[in-house]
Symmetry: C4
Subunit: 277 residues, 4 copies
């Protein structure tokens, strides 16, 4: 019984953010995340004073210890531990602590601590930014709806850049000191060009190569319209669907995009659920 009471109390503090203690804990957590991510980034900057190296390493262990303790407590006090462990946030929380333990095996893995940055997504829950969460969920729904179209699109883009890269290798590859000295490099060039990134580290020099290059650019210029069109249409659909949300009580629709309650009778609309932990 005492155990159960402790669990419930811990649950309220760690998982919820409505009580003062819960909110304080969440804000502390966010500060720790921001601070530990900053350390991971800063310790790679060359001009850093050497006397900071040791404190940084100590802090890293302290934060990892704290996050590990927090992760274990979350599992302990969660009413459905398995559900938490395999939820999106559960996996992120685990990945945010693991890298430091793996350092003993592969030292360079330490920088993976940056995964902690993803824990910051909690910020929306803590500061009651539910509207933002809903916008984010609407974006995700729109992207998920169009994921098949985008997958097909990428499949063709991959075949296209492979072919264009090979063609470019055939055109420019035989020149001495050519930058297109193998097909993987040429495919890399084709992707750089088609996506309009255009680093300029690999560029054609022959007239034929420049012509193919110009053609690829104009193609990429048009093709970039396809994912944009797909996403725009998905969002438009999502927006219409949302306008048609029907109140479960009075059966009226046409609610505001971010409405949580029916504007006619005040019933909670089950379309916009709050964020699942």
């Amino acid at each position: 019984m005492n155990n159960e009471a402790l669990k419930r109390k811990l649950y309220i503090v760690i998982f919820e953010s409505d009580t003062p203690a819960g909110k304080a804990f969440d804000i502390l957590l966010i500060c720790c995340i921001l601070f530990s991510v900053s350390i991971v980034i800063l310790e790679t900057v060359p001009g850093l004073p050497t006397y900071l190296a040791t404190p940084f390493i100590i802090l890293e262990y302290v934060f990892t210890g704290f996050f590990t303790f927090e992760y274990l407590t979350r599992i302990y006090c969660s009413p459905h531990p398995k559900k938490y462990i395999f939820s999106f946030f559960g996996i992120i929380d685990l990945l945010a602590t693991l890298p430091l333990y793996l350092v003993f095996l592969v030292p360079s893995l330490r920088h993976l601590l940056i995964i902690r940055a993803f824990r910051l997504i909690r910020v929306f829950r803590v500061f009651k930014l539910f509207n933002f969460l809903m916008e984010g969920q609407m974006l995700l729904r729109a992207l998920r709806q169009s994921s098949k179209k985008i997958a097909v699109f990428f499949f063709f883009v991959v075949i296209l850049v492979t072919s264009i890269g090979t063609l470019m290798y055939m055109i420019e590859g035989s020149r001495p000191d050519s930058q297109f000295d193998n097909i993987p490099n040429s495919i890399y060039w084709a992707i750089v060009t088609m996506t309009t990134v255009g680093y300029g580290d690999i560029t054609p020099v022959t007239p034929m190569g420049k012509m193919l290059s110009a053609f690829v650019m104009l193609l990429g210029y048009t093709i970039i319209a396809v994912p944009t069109g797909i996403v725009s249409v998905s969002m438009m659909k999502e927006y219409r669907r949302q306008q048609n949300v029907e109140c479960p009580n009075c059966h009226k629709s046409g609610h505001e995009e971010t409405a949580a309650y029916c504007k006619y009778c005040g019933t909670k609309l089950n379309e916009h659920q709050s964020h699942p932990s």
Copy 2:
């Protein structure tokens, strides 16, 4: 009484542009702004004849004096001085004069005089380009409506480029003379690549780095579709909302996008207000 009459007269000349004097003043003001902005830009060009240096500095003080005098007069003759001071244009007007006074403290601040360029927004009011103003306001409304979605989007983009930058640092950072020599630089590279800018000042050289790079480009190619989709849908909504503007007199809707008066009964539509000073 005499004081009040002077105030009203000044108000008409400075704030309004319907009278010949008001219009003349506004045109003079716009010329001064254009001229002073040109001086700020030109005086940094290396090949400039040296005999121009002194006149340029004198002109800068003359313009700043004029703008300061104008700013004080605006405060003096405004019926609600506080409202003016804290309005968008009030703050711009203040910032357009301050930098020269701060030169005595920090010399390089002089170039901030460029803020004057923002005063040019008045040009729309002076030349009665109300239609343009309305288009601008419609754009702003559409952007404001989608600001939450865009904020969520940017939050994820920031987490994403941080993670990708760190991953790239782990892949290429250990090579001698690597350009990815610290995580902030790698994050900068991730932003340059994801936004399809692609300077080419930092580029991957290892096969693994090129593969990650190609992946980031294709990701950026799709992700660029998200803000475009958001803004397109917002504009579409804004356009529909505008078509539904109801005349306050005859309650008919379906007016033209830029209509200021009801086309059925001539009543002023309160949807499109003229620009607030």
Copy 3:
């Protein structure tokens, strides 16, 4: 009378392309344009055999003579010479002949002969590609409708890049050998970055400069969504308007996008006019 008959005959051959003679003349004209444009481009290529130089110059004079003669004949046989002279095609036709005459004044103007390329727009009329013309006109209408919004957008972009360029000059301009050595160069950099072109000829090197740069890129990433949104909405509107074209005879609407005749009663729809010469 004889004169009038000649005029009419010439008009049919030169302006129209329904008779065999008219079509033959138009195809000859298009070949001449393509050939003369190719010469203008080719004669600048370094590796060209020298024995081609003289024939190229002679051909240029021959083509210019032919185009001049054609231009004068068009004026002669046009029923409304003034209307032709000041029409879009009339001005293009004039500009396509002038540069060679100006060579005696300014030799480098010869390359302006490239303006002839615009005469190729006739190709749509000659080959009865009316559908393409209509699509082009629909595009133009959509762009014209959104021209005010785009103008306002560009006004703000110009103020923005001026301010960002000046800020960058303040951050990096004082370093020795800085590429941001004057404000016009920095504004040029701001435009290169904001439009996601990213040549990489001018890049920031200080941490502060890189941070501003990253911010400008993310800004440009969002701002690029605005013209796309504007144009998408315009096209959607244009498409809806077209669906609402009402037949002047049977007053039914809902015609196909490229329909020239009412599908219910066969009356010509006055929405899609053929190209005005």
Copy 4:
């Protein structure tokens, strides 16, 4: 008769993928394609151990032999050989074997074996990814609908880059060591800039050149909105058309986007046909 039975059996194995044998054959085929494409790419990588060269060449002949045999068998067992030969997949299948036979004439053609990658499109059929196929077909329909608009758009882009390239050649071409040393190079630069690729291999150095360059970038920034707008509107239309698919039996519409059967009476909707071969 025996011959016919063999034909039918072969047809089921090679063309269909519903029987275990058919599916096994298709999976074997996809593995062979992936493997042979990987060889074409890998054998160009410089650091490859030399002892792999001979096995790679042998494997290439083995795969080409297998694909040739498969192609001939497909012709043999197809009920309409001509229809297969001139279908999209028939031509791809032929092109996937030809290059190696042409090596005796032109050795460098070997790399065209990469065309095999296009055979991978079968992957959708094999794994019953019909939904993906339908999405792909919807994308293609939307692109085909907008092909005329895009063609007109490209016609103008080509004229525009030709003119801009020539103008740039006139501005910067006369400088010693200029990168704009001939008009084709300048046109290539104009395309690189307008499409926002921005390699940076050719960049303007004079103030006039930079001004033209900035103008072209801002133009390209707006013009990129046109194909995006075209494709977005096409997709929106396609989506609406699909919602209006009428069931041939019960004449009800409003089906899901990817529905193959009427949701009211179960009749097959003839809008979404399965992939032709």
